[in-house]
Symmetry: C2
Subunit: 118 residues, 2 copies
Amino acid sequence: MVQCLDPPLDLAFAALADATRRGIIDRLGRGHASITSLADTFQMTLTGMKKHIQVLERAGLVVTQKVGRVRTCGLGKRGLEAEAEWIETHRKLFEARFEALDDIISEIEQERSNDSAS
Amino acid sequence: MVQCLDPPLDLAFAALADATRRGIIDRLGRGHASITSLADTFQMTLTGMKKHIQVLERAGLVVTQKVGRVRTCGLGKRGLEAEAEWIETHRKLFEARFEALDDIISEIEQERSNDSAS
DNA sequence: TAAACACTGAACCATATGGTTCAGTGTTTG
DNA sequence: CAAACACTGAACCATATGGTTCAGTGTTTA
């Protein structure tokens, strides 16, 4: 519950901050795939795809196993629990503060005019 | 619903991939704050904090207004809806694939032994 | 066993990040 | 009006990202 520092969150959010990697997760959700087939799907070199997979692996979102010459990728055990929790928790803050948006200025200018009136 | 490309998601997830910025959101959820006070809270130079705020602003997670010499920051209208939706959608994929983790190898080795048997 | 295949690693490149310092600009405030 | 204040912008730095090519290594397969 208490989340001091949280490098896992850093890694996971960073991994999700790329459309290709989100696409990979999407793809792996429909079954595992080799690096070659992923590279083909996303029109990228093998090496480029391997880097993306490494990022996802470091974040715990993807696991891979090499059998023979093929490395097969699948979704990781870690899931997106922690990320979902952080977002849900903070989504409420946004909703609560929703109307504060336009009020920031008027509040402050209120204070200013009070000050100048004193 | 259909999310082709989604640069907003890129920006938001990238913004969340930093503990300091998550801390800023946390802080702004309890009321708006000036850049100076945020810089003080997070023990950082003004310029450094301003950059973080810019990242959050580009992602639409924070809004700022300058009144006089003070720029006040608050949570943005955008919220975390799209991010929550993406994560919730894909969280299910992880759960569904949960047991596939250890099965990847055995499945493939099964195929291999079938092949060698034929 | 030679060729094709799947991956791996090193090196390179352009750009972004996360931070700093320093030198402004514009706003209060004494 | 001068000093202090809050921010802004430019420049710099080290490291990371997202991609490439090229040259391996190890595995199948014909």
